[in-house]
């Protein structure tokens, strides 16, 4: 699924402007590709009360430099708890207030279900917007 839709996204190019680096521990891995005005963050593992501080720390640094948008690829997350959810919401609010957008990319069916239960389906920008069943 991730690969299928990757074509429609700005690929992190290997140009001199791009910067790719990865951080993470055993529970959450974060890979960050920074381009001129936007940023692609790929998460894998579990986003929960114990790993959320790590992501929050990374996002604080990124958010100030992002001008147009931040794409958060969550297709490889296996677990999101309410703290993780609150972090996504907080980032959405922060970017919106500075005129940028947060795109939640490639959620698994279970992540979609979580967004639905939590009333976030219409609130967050989710790509692709719906699952073809």
């Amino acid at each position: 699924m991730t690969l299928e839709h990757a074509a429609s996204l700005p690929e992190p190019s290997a140009s001199e402007d791009s910067l790719v680096h990865s951080v993470g521990d055993h529970s959450l891995q974060i890979s960050i590709s920074q381009m001129e005005d936007r940023c692609l963050v790929v998460l894998s593992g579990e986003l929960d009360v114990s790993s959320a501080p790590l992501l929050r720390e990374q996002l604080v640094a990124i958010t100030t430099t992002v001008q147009t948008g931040l794409i958060l690829d969550i297709g490889l997350l296996t677990f999101i708890d309410s703290t993780g959810l609150s972090l996504l919401v907080a980032e959405h609010k922060k970017l919106e207030s500075q005129g940028a957008t947060l795109t939640i990319f490639s959620p698994t069916p279970m992540a979609r279900r979580l967004f639905e239960i939590s009333g976030l389906t219409g609130y967050l920008t989710i790509v692709p917007p719906a699952v073809a069943t």
Partner: protein, 729 residues
């Protein structure tokens, strides 16, 4: 919640596992008797299951005995038959008796369910076990298959299908083989018995040899021509009056299997013997264990010598690592006990001062069978400061105390009460011997007393006391660390408790019940709450909410959310409007906050319901007609996601309760489990809720649901609110 990774279905089998399965199928096809089936299984079954060993248990029809073939992987002695009573508490027998698989995915599970197997598993390097019943064509149980793995197993569906396939193949092979062989009969023995590496002979009821296999000839140092037709006591006169004779006669007279170890002088060897009777006489299966006995003795001696140096040196390091991970006082003392009984003594207990007595807070015993007994002492038999207990003496003096026969010396001092008698008996059962009683200091005061006993062992020497002094210092450090955390937890816990309503509104038409469960000890106190109160117009408002985060901040936020929402709802603005107001208020006051809330209002006169949710799971409705439904609705985003100028509007949902309908509101901790699909969790909750439909009261239903759903540990706190609509007719 867990999202399926989508790779399970396309899992590629290891080629070696596949090959092993084919080898197994081929081997099973040519088996002529049950023993060959068992041998084929033992040889190929482990690989076919992706594990390191397999064995097979065959249920005998006559005597309710279970024979199990063991492979070298699990038994240093090599292949051999073990015989169990069907009632024995081992996985194979349990699988046969219940007709259900026994799945032990981890060492912890093995320890919990079959503590006596733990040592054997460790020795064999196994971390997971499974036993599956083998069924015949008519559904009868023929035996069981055992598997072992050197790594923990999750037993997913694909793996269970594979194990089941092997069990079915074995069932077919066993059934076919039974037609051609009747098992351990006399006369012509199947080839496998002749060539098996274990010694076997059979005798008739008057102790005349009828068969002996090759290994038997070697061990008894006599050929079959010399033995068959000859009386046992004629061939081996020294056996007369020995343990061998006694045990063989016992087997014949009782009709039961006997298992014993005995020394036979003329052959200068120790033998482990299994003898089981049948109609023709006695089957005797035996092995020379002289070497094993010698090794065991040597090992014990070597161990005793190194114990004084290596074990004690590493003991302190291991202990401080153990204690560093403990989050509560109880955890510290529990870990202390298990460390102490593994290195310093056979059993130990810890008492702490409480009021004007010493109360036992932890206990442990080296012997797993007695550990349960030791742990029953926890909380019981307090020592009054005025009493004669040696623990009190040490508590008051702050000096270590050594006793030569600790249990006896305590019992001698006890009064004649029933409680004292039970206490004394427990101490004696745990075993008597030299005891060492140590004070544990924290901030200059004795904060606990540790008692250690060596059952029948050597008295505690001065260097033991020195080591234990280091141990108690280590414990004191760990205690200081957790005291600070616990104080904070207590504050948060108190705040949490204060935020929950002390009573629920009562009405002739609506019966309410609610439950709150904190996360397991050591977990965080969270921000879950429920609320219920009557509105000015006579409706009842029900609220369940979950403030994100843990600790003091979440609890404080929760209290604030609860109070604001109460005020809004009380103004009769309806759940949707109240949530909008709250959302706006929070956007200004607590821009970092995040919470999910469900508000439900019920008219007790008519059963009319209005509800709205801000990011919270909808209620479950159990209808009187037996149907049930999770009301999903259209939740607004959580509180904390809105901007000041664009509040999120929650959709208001309406329906009407019929008499005897039951409504459940809950927080996600009730159904969310890491590693378990969100929908499965919700379905589990609905099924559990349906099973309580006949509970006479919502209190009972609430308790049952919490209990059933929270089996095992839960690292989140949980709220459940139950409302029964019971209008007078």
């Amino acid at each position: 919640m867990t999202f399926p990774d989508g790779h399970d279905e396309t899992k590629i089998e290891e080629p070696t596992e596949e090959e092993a399965l084919w080898r197994l199928v081929t081997a099973l096809a040519s088996c002529a008797n049950p023993f060959e089936v068992a041998e084929a299984l033992a040889a190929e079954g482990g690989g076919a299951a992706g594990g390191s060993f397999a064995n097979m248990a065959i249920l005998t029809t006559e005597a309710n005995l279970v024979h199990i073939v063991h492979r070298p992987a699990v038994d240093a002695l090599g292949n051999r038959w073990l015989t169990y009573e069907l009632d024995d508490h081992v996985p194979g027998c349990d699988a046969i008796r219940n007709g259900l698989p026994v799945l032990l995915g981890s060492v912890e599970e093995i320890q919990a369910r079959y503590p006596l197997l733990t040592a054997e598993m460790e020795e064999a390097g196994l971390q997971a076990r499974a036993s599956l019943p083998i069924h015949g064509a008519r559904g009868e149980t023929l035996g069981a298959l055992g598997f072992g793995w050197s790594a923990p197993q999750s037993f997913d569906a694909a793996q269970l299908r594979r194990l089941d396939l092997i069990a079915q193949l074995s069932g077919l092979a066993l059934e076919r083989a039974k037609g051609t062989d009747t098992g351990m009969t006399h006369g012509r023995m199947p080839g496998v018995v002749e060539t098996m590496p274990n010694a076997l002979f059979t005798m008739d009821a008057s102790f005349v040899f009828t068969y002996i296999n090759a290994e038997g000839e070697r061990l008894l140092q006599a050929s079959r021509d010399e033995l068959i037709g000859i009386n046992l006591f004629e061939a081996f006169p020294e056996a007369l009056g020995s343990e061998f004779e006694r045990q063989y006669r016992l087997a014949l007279s009782s009709g039961r299997t006997v298992v014993f170890e005995a020394y036979y002088g003329p052959l200068a060897g120790w033998f482990e013997v299994h003898a089981w009777p049948d109609q023709q006489g006695l089957n005797v299966y035996f092995a020379d264990i002289s070497e094993r006995r010698a090794e065991t003795l040597e090992r014990e001696q070597a161990l005793a010598e190194t114990q004084l140096t290596n074990i004690r040196l590493s003991f302190l390091t291991a202990l401080s690592t153990q204690l560093a991970g403990a989050r509560t006082r109880t955890e510290i003392f529990d870990r202390l006990c298990s460390s102490v009984v593994s290195a310093m003594g056979d059993w130990c207990t810890v008492v702490v001062p409480a009021g004007d007595e010493l109360v036992r807070i932890a206990a442990g015993h080296r012997d797993p069978a007695l550990n349960g007994l030791a742990r029953r002492l926890v909380g019981g038999y307090p020592h009054a400061y005025s009493g004669p207990s040696p623990g009190v003496v040490v508590y008051k003096s702050g000096e270590p105390l050594r006793l030569t026969q600790l249990a006896q010396q305590i019992v001698d001092e006890l009064d004649n009460s029933m409680a004292s008698a039970a206490y004394g008996r427990t101490l004696q059962l745990m075993g008597d011997g030299p005891g060492l009683i140590m004070p544990i200091f924290s901030r200059g005061e004795v904060t606990a007393v540790l008692t250690t006993v060596r059952v029948g062992g050597a008295p505690f020497a001065d260097d033991d006391v020195a080591l234990m002094t280091d141990v108690t210092a280590c414990v004191a450090n760990a205690l200081d660390d957790v005291t600070q955390n616990e104080t904070q937890r207590e504050t948060v816990g108190a705040l949490q408790a204060a935020a929950l309503p002390s009573s629920l509104p009562t009405s002739d038409h609506l019966t309410l019940a609610a439950g709150y469960r904190a996360a397991n000890e050591g977990g965080q106190v969270g921000g879950d709450w429920y609320d219920a109160f009557e509105l000015q117009n006579g409706w009842i408002a029900l609220v369940v909410g979950d403030a994100a985060g843990h600790g003091l901040h979440a609890a404080a936020l929760m209290a604030q959310l609860r109070n604001s929402l109460r005020a809004h709802l009380f103004d009769s603005m309806g759940p949707s409007e109240a949530l909008v107001k709250l959302s706006t208020f929070i956007a200004v006051q607590e821009p970092e906050a995040f919470a999910t809330i469900i508000c439900v209002e019920i008219d007790p006169a008519t059963g009319d319901v209005v509800w709205a949710s801000a990011g919270h799971p909808g209620p479950i409705l159990l209808r009187r007609d037996g149907t049930s439904q999770h009301l999903r609705g259209e939740p607004a985003p959580p509180i904390g996601s809105a901007h000041l100028h664009s509040p999120n509007r929650a959709v208001e949902h309406r329906f009407t309760l019929s008499p005897d309908d039951r409504l459940l509101m809950f927080t996600d901790g009730l159904f969310e489990r890491r590693g378990i699909d969100l929908e499965i969790g919700l379905t589990h909750l609905m099924i559990t809720a349906e099973q309580t439909r006949n509970s006479p009261s919502p209190e009972r239903a609430c308790e049952t649901i919490l209990e059933e759903m929270l089996l095992g540990s839960h690292d989140d706190d949980v709220c459940l609110l139950v409302a029964d609509f019971t209008p007078k007719r």
